[in-house]
Symmetry: D3
C-alpha cells in the first residue's frame, strides 16, 4: 500500500493554522453513548410556510458558516475549544405528508433529549413552524417551559384559514397546552406586521409583548433581563426562539419576511448573550432564514454568531 | 353555467388570513366622484436623470411592496384598515419628448388635486426631477408651499449644462417662482456630494440646510419639529420630498446615487412620522429608487414603510 | 369632476403603438357566459415537488411574458389578434393540506371544461404533479385521452416512498385508470436521469418512449407526427404535457431539474407547432419552470412562445 | 528623480506575454492626420428606447471585451496585429435634449468620415435608433447606401406614436430619403415580434425580408451572398447593421428585447464574415446590447467577436 | 440509549427513492486496500492562473453535481450502479509556495496510481496548469502517454514571461520530456484566442491541431476516432484533457476564458463517449471551471455529465 | 483636417456640470518632477490570501468610485479641488513568483517615496499582506513607524503553516524589525475571529489592542485620539492600515472575511477623520476588498469615502 503525502480521502482539504480552532471542528456526529456540552439538531422543514420558503436549507448553510468563526473570545480571554457540540444530524421529513413531517420533528427532538447527552440544545429551522413540535418536546422532557421569542410577528394566527403554518406555532403551543401564555415573551414586535385580532389574543393570553418602540425606549438588554428573572420563577426550563426577521432587513436580508425598522446585529447578539447567561436557559432555535434569498450568507453568518453567543458563556 | 369553487377570474389567488388586512387591499382605483383619505399617483419618469436610471419602475414596485405590510399598529393599538387610498394610477409619459412628459406630470398632479377627492397625497417617482412639476401643481392648487426635502444633495444645479434633470428640481421651482427659498428645508445633506456654487446658492436663496453632522449633533426629530413650526407660519401647505439617497447605502442600496454616511432606516421612518403628524403636511413624494439596482426590494420596502408612516397618524 | 389627460386609474401606463397587438392584450378574464378560442388556467402548485420548487410562481411570470410577443406571424402572413384567450385565473390552493390542493386543481380544471367556453385549453403549472389532476379532468370530460409528454424523465416513480410528487403524475394516471399506458408518448427522455425500474415500467405498460438519441437519429418532428397519427385512432382527445426540462439547460436555465444534452428551443417550438396542428390536440400544459431560478425569464419567455405555437395554428 | 522598476503611471498593470497581441492593444485614439484601417466610434445613446435601456453603456463594455481576443487567426494562419484601429471616442450626448443628441450622433459620424482616415468603420450603439443618424451620414459621404440588417424586428414603426425611437430607424431613413427600400435587406425577422402593418410596409417599400424560416430552409450564408451581389449593383457602399437581438436569447442574453428561436452565435459570426469579405462593405454598426442585463458580458463578447470578423478579412 | 426514528447523525437527510441510485452514492472514500473501477482525485489549484481564478473550488462543486444524475442509461438499457468510484480526496496545496503545490499534485497523482486500485482515473482541476503534474505522473506510471486535449487554446505559452501558468502545461510537458509533440492532439482550437508563435510551435513539435472549422467541416467524432486509432499505435495510455472553455460560452458560462463560437454540450458529450470507448483511454481531467462565475452550476453539471460519459461505457 | 464638435478621442464622454469637481478629476498620473499633495499607488496583489481573493481588483474599483464624490465639504465650507493627487499607478506583480511580487510591492512603494513628490500617501490593496512590504518601505524612508490598524483580526499568524499570507503582515513586520510591537495599535478586534496564541502574542509584544466591546464602551474617537497622542511621542511617522473587514458585514459586504458585530460606516469615517487630522499621520492603506464579492461597490465606495476623509483635512 502506498502512503499519501497530501491526500486524506474522506476529509476536505483546507488550510490549517495549528493555533486556530474553527467552531466547525468542534462538531461531533452523535454516536451511541456520546456526551457533550451542546446538542445540535437540524429541523429542515418549511413546506408549511405561507409564502414558499427554502428555509429548509438553512441547517446546512448555518453549519457551514461555523467555519468562519474560531473558538476564542478576546473579550473574555477564554478559548472555548473544549466545548463539544454533539451533532444529531437533520430530521428526515416527508415530501408530501406535512402532518407526518411535523410529527417527525417532534419525535426527533424528543429522542435527542431522551439521550440526556448534553446540557443545552440548539435547533436549526426551518421556518418558525418547527418551534411547535420542538417546544412541545421540551415541555414533555423538562416540564414547564418559558419562551423568549425574538420576532417581528406574534405568530398566533388562527388555525382554520391555513392549518399549522409558520404563522401559528405559538397558538398551537398555547392551545395544545404545551405552553402557558404567561410564560411567553415576545421581543421586537413591529408595527404594520401583525393584525389587531392577534394583538388582542396576546393580551388575552397574558403574553408579554415588547415592541420596537419599547426597545428604543428601554433597551433590549434590560427587557431580556427582567423577563428572565420573572420566568425563572415560573418555569423549569427557558427556551429561546429566534426568528431572524426580528433583525432589520439591512442586517438580515435573507429572511422570507424582511422589513425595515428592526433591531441591529449588535442588539441581537448582545441580547442573546444576556439571555444565555441564565442557567435555566437550555435551548435555542433559530428560524426563518432562507439561504436562497440571502446575500453572501449574511443572515446565516449572523445565525452562526448567535449560536456562539448561546454556547460560549 | 358552472360555478367555480376555487377560481376567481381576474383576481390573484393569494392566501388570505381573515383577520389580516394588507395595505394593498386598501388601494382603490379612482373612479368618478370617489372620496378617500389618501390620494396616490405614480410619476414613472426618469429619462431626465443625469445617469441612466430605471427609477421609472419604482411606482409599480413600491405599490407591490405594500402587500408586505398590514394596517395595524401595535404601538398605537390602532387599526388603519379604514383609511382608504384612492389610486389615480400612473401618468402616461412620452418616450422621446421629455418636455412634454414633464408637462404631463404637472397636468396630472393638478388634475388629481382638482378632484378634491382626498385629504393627503402621495406621489411616487421617478427620479427627483418629478418634484418640479408636482410641487408646482401643489402651489397652483393650495397656494404658498413649504417643502422639507430629505436628500444627500441640494438639487439646485444650473440649468444650462444639461437642462432640467434630476439635479435641478428645486432650482427650477425657485426660479420659476413656485417656491420661495426661505420655504425650503433640506435635511441630510452630505459632504463630498455637492458643489460649492450650489452650497452658496442655498445660502443666497435662504434655504435652510441641515447636514449629516447637524443630524448627528442635534438629532433629526428636533430639526424636523423646529422647521415644521417655522414653515407653518409661512405657508399654506407643507410638502415632504423624500429622496431615498438620504439614507445610508446599507439601508437603501437601490438608489442610483448611493453612498455611505447617510441616515438609518429608523431615522428616516421616525422623522417622517414626526413630520406627518403636522396638519399642514398634506403631501409626500418618494423619489430616486431604481428597482433594477436594488437587492430584494429593500429600498422599495423602505419606501412602502415610509408611506405608512405618512398615512397612518 | 375633472377629466384626466394622461391618467387611467386601474390601468397600467404602457407605451402603445397603434398597430401592434401584444398577446397579453388578448387575455380576457372569464365572465359568465363568455366564449372564446383558448381557455387559460393557472395551476400554481409545487409543494409536492421532491426538491423545494417555486414553480408555483410560473403562471404569473409566463402570463407577464406574453407582453413580449405580438399576434402577427410573418411566416404565415397572418395576424391572430382575433384569437381570444379566456383567462380563468389561478386555482386557490391550500397552504398545508396538499391532498386538498390536488383535488382543488382537479375540480377547477373540470369546472373550467364544463363551461364549454373554449375550443382548446392551456394549463400553466406548477410542477409536473399538476398534470395528474388536470389530465384526469380531461378524461372525465372528453373520454379517452392520449398524451404526448415532452420530458427528460419518465415521471412514473413509485408512490410509497414519497406520496404523489412531481415524479409520479403518469403513474398516478395509469394506476388510477385515467390514462392507458399505450396512449402515453414520452419524448426527450435522457440518460442518467431515470432508473431502470421505471424504464421497465414504461415497457410493461406499453408507453412509447423516445430518447434523445432517437431524436438525434430521427428528428423530433417525424416522431411527433407518427405518434399523433397513431394516437388519433385510439383516443378522443390529445393532451400535450410540456415539462420544460426536456430542453437543454442552456436554453431553459430556469427549470428545477436542469441538465445538459437536451433539445434546443427551436426543436421545442417546431415540435409543438407540429403537434398543435392536429385537430384532436385540445390541451397543453407547461410545467416545471421556477422563475426564481431563471435568468431574465428566459424559460418563461420560451413557455410563452410555446403557448403561441399552440394557440396560433 | 527615481526610476520605477515595476510602475508605469498612467498605464494599467496587466500580464503581458511577449508573443500575444490583444486586439485592444491595436486601438489608437485618433489624433490629427492619423490614418488607419478601421475607424471606431461609440454612439452611446439609448434614451429614445421604448423600454428603458442602458444600451448607452455598450461602447465601453464592448471595447473592454476586445482584450479577450488576440489578433491571430489559425484558420487563415494570419496575424492581423498590423490592422490599426483608429478610435474616435464616444459622442458626447445631451442629458435631456434628445433631438439634439441624435443630431450630435449624425454630425460626429459625418465628421469622422470627412477625415478620410480609414477604409472601414465600426459604430457601436447604443440602441437601434443610432443607425438613423449614422446611416444618414454615410449616405451624405459615400452616396447611395445599401443596408443589411440583422434583426428580429423590422424597425419601421410609425413616428407619430412615440417619435423617433429604437423602433423607427429604417422608417426614418426611408422617409427622409436617405435609404431606398429596395436597398434594405432584413435578415432574421421573427414571428410574433412584429405587426402586420409594418410587414406590409416592408413589402410596399420593396425591402427584402428573410425570416427565421427562410434561414432554416436556405441557410444564412447563401442569403447574405445573394443579397450582397444584388446590392453591389445598386449602391456605392454597403452598411451592415447588426441588432444583436437577431441572436437567440441563449446566446445573447443581454439584449433588451431577447426571445427564443433566433440564430446561433456561429450563424451570426459566419454570416458577418461572409458579408465583410465583400469590398463594398465599409461599415458595420452593432446595437441593442444592454450590459446591465447581460451575464458575464456574453453579449458584448459576441459583439467583440463580430467586430473581429468584420475587421480581419 | 434512545434509538432514532428519523435521524442519522453524520449523514445528510435526503429524499430516497428506493429504485434510484444517484451517482454520488457510488463514491467511496479510499481506504487501504480498496479496489474499484474509477479512481477520482481533486486537484484544487488555480493560483497560477494568469487571471485570478477560483477554479480551485471546482472539485467540490462537480462532485456535488453528481447527485443530479442517476446510474441508468436508457439508450444502452444498462444500469451502472455497480461501477464503483474510489474517491482519493483533494490534494492539500500550499497557500503561498506554488512550486511546492505543483509538486504536491504530482506526488499525489503518482501515489494514487501506485495503489493500482482502479482501472481508470478522473482528475478534477483546478486550472489547466494541473495537467502538467498529472500527465507527468501518468507518464511515470504507465510509460508513453498520448493526450487528446479539448481546448480553445494551445496552452504552449513561453515559460519566461510568467513561469508555469494555466497557459503552459503542454509546453512544460513537452520540454520536460514527459510528452512527445506527436502524441498530443488538440481539438476545438479557436480563432483570435492564440498567438502565431504558439501556432508555429505546435507545427514544429508535430502536435495534431483541429480547429473549430475542422469540426464544422468534418464533425468532431470522426476526428476523435481517427486520432485514437493513430495514437493507440504509439502510446501505452491515452489521457483525455478537457478544458471546458472548448465549449461555447452559452453552454459553459462558468469558465474563466469564455467566448462564442465553441462546440455545443452535445458535441462535447458525444466526443467524450467516443473517446472513452477506446480501451487505452485510462484517464481524463476536467479543468478551467470557476464555480463562482457560473450560473446555476451549468458548467459543473456539464462536467459531471462528462464524467458519466467517461465512466459508463 | 476636420474639427470634432462632440468627440474627444482618448477621453471618456461624461456629463459635466461646470461647477462640480469630481474627485477623480484631481488624479494626475505621475510624471517626472511632479509635486502634489497626495501620492496614490495601487498594490493589486492577493494571491497570498489564505482563501482565494480577488482583492487584487480593488485599486481599479476604488479609483473608479472616486467619481461618485465631489471635492466640496459643506460641513467645513471648503472646496478641496486644489488638493492634487499624484497617481503612481499599479505595481506590476508576477503571476507565479509570489516572493518576487512582495518584493516588487516593497521596491515600488520605496521608489515612490524616494521621489519626495507628496506630503501624504495612500496605498490601495490588495489583501492585508501588502501592508508588510508597504510599511517596511515607510520605515526605511521615514524612520520609526507607528501603525493604527483597523481590523477584526490581529494578523500575527505564525509563518510556518502557510508562509507570508494576508494573516501575517504584522508578525512579519515585528519579526523583521520594521515595526515595534509597542508602536502598533489594533482597533476593532472581534470575538471568535482570532486565536488565543495570537492574542497572547499581541500582549507579549506590547501591541495595544481595542476590541469591539472597548469601542462600545469608550467610543472609537477617544481611543484613536489617545493612541495618536501616545504614538506621536514615539515615532517619526504614523501609518493607518484600514482592513475593511473591521466594518460590520451589513456596511461592507465585499470583504473576503465578512462578519456581523463590526463598526458602522459612520464610525469608520469619523475615526479616519480624527486620525488624519494629526500631522504625523502621513500614510494610509486600505485593504481586503474583493470587488467580485461586493454588492453595487458598497465597500469600494466606502473605501473611496475613507480616502476623502484622509485627504481633505
Ligand atoms: Ca415567527
Ligand atoms: Ca417573523
Ligand atoms: Ca435629490
Ligand atoms: Ca439625492
Ligand atoms: Ca416531468
Ligand atoms: Ca422532467
Ligand atoms: Ca432593431
Ligand atoms: Ca430588434
Ligand atoms: Ca487550456
Ligand atoms: Ca482554454
Ligand atoms: Ca487584516
Ligand atoms: Ca481582517
Amino acid at each position: 500500500m502506498v502512503k499519501f503525502s497530501y491526500l486524506q480521502p474522506g476529509k476536505q482539504a483546507v488550510f490549517k493554522d495549528r493555533f486556530v480552532t474553527k467552531v466547525n471542528e468542534c462538531l461531533i456526529p452523535y454516536s451511541e453513548g456520546a456526551k457533550g456540552d451542546i446538542g445540535l439538531i437540524g429541523l429542515p422543514f418549511s413546506k408549511t410556510s405561507i409564502s414558499l420558503s427554502q428555509a429548509s436549507d438553512a441547517p446546512k448553510t448555518i453549519r457551514a458558516n461555523l467555519s468562519s468563526f474560531s473558538t476564542f473570545s478576546g473579550e473574555k480571554e477564554k478559548d472555548y475549544k473544549n466545548i463539544s457540540i454533539i451533532d444529531f444530524g437533520d430530521v428526515q421529513t416527508h415530501p408530501t405528508d406535512l402532518e407526518e413531517s411535523i410529527e417527525r420533528l417532534h419525535v426527533s427532538v424528543r429522542e435527542m433529549l431522551e439521550n440526556n447527552a448534553c446540557q443545552r440544545y440548539i435547533m436549526l429551522g426551518g421556518d418558525h413552524g418547527v418551534s411547535f413540535p420542538s417546544i412541545r418536546a421540551f415541555k414533555e422532557h423538562y416540564g414547564e417551559v418559558g419562551v423568549i421569542q425574538w420576532d417581528a410577528h406574534h405568530d398566533v394566527r388562527n388555525l382554520y384559514d391555513g392549518g399549522r403554518t409558520n404563522g401559528t406555532p405559538f397558538r398551537s403551543l398555547i392551545e395544545g397546552g404545551h405552553l402557558k401564555g404567561g410564560n411567553l415573551v415576545q421581543v421586537g414586535i413591529r408595527d404594520y406586521a401583525n393584525a389587531k385580532e392577534y394583538h388582542d389574543y396576546t393580551k388575552e393570553k397574558g403574553i408579554s409583548v415588547y415592541t420596537m418602540e419599547d426597545i428604543e425606549n428601554t433597551g433590549i438588554i434590560p427587557i431580556i433581563k427582567k423577563e428572565l428573572e420573572r420566568l425563572s420563577e415560573l418555569v423549569d426550563v427557558i427556551y429561546l426562539s429566534v426568528d431572524m426577521d426580528v433583525v432589520d432587513q439591512a442586517f438580515a436580508p435573507g429572511c422570507p419576511a424582511i422589513g425595515p425598522g428592526g433591531i441591529t446585529s449588535r442588539e441581537l447578539l448582545a441580547s442573546i448573550s444576556a439571555a444565555a447567561s441564565h442557567e435555566k436557559v437550555k435551548a435555542m432555535d433559530i428560524v426563518e432564514i432562507d439561504p436562497s434569498k440571502d446575500f453572501r450568507d449574511l443572515t446565516s453568518r449572523l445565525a452562526a454568531a448567535s449560536m456562539l453567543r448561546f454556547m460560549y458563556n
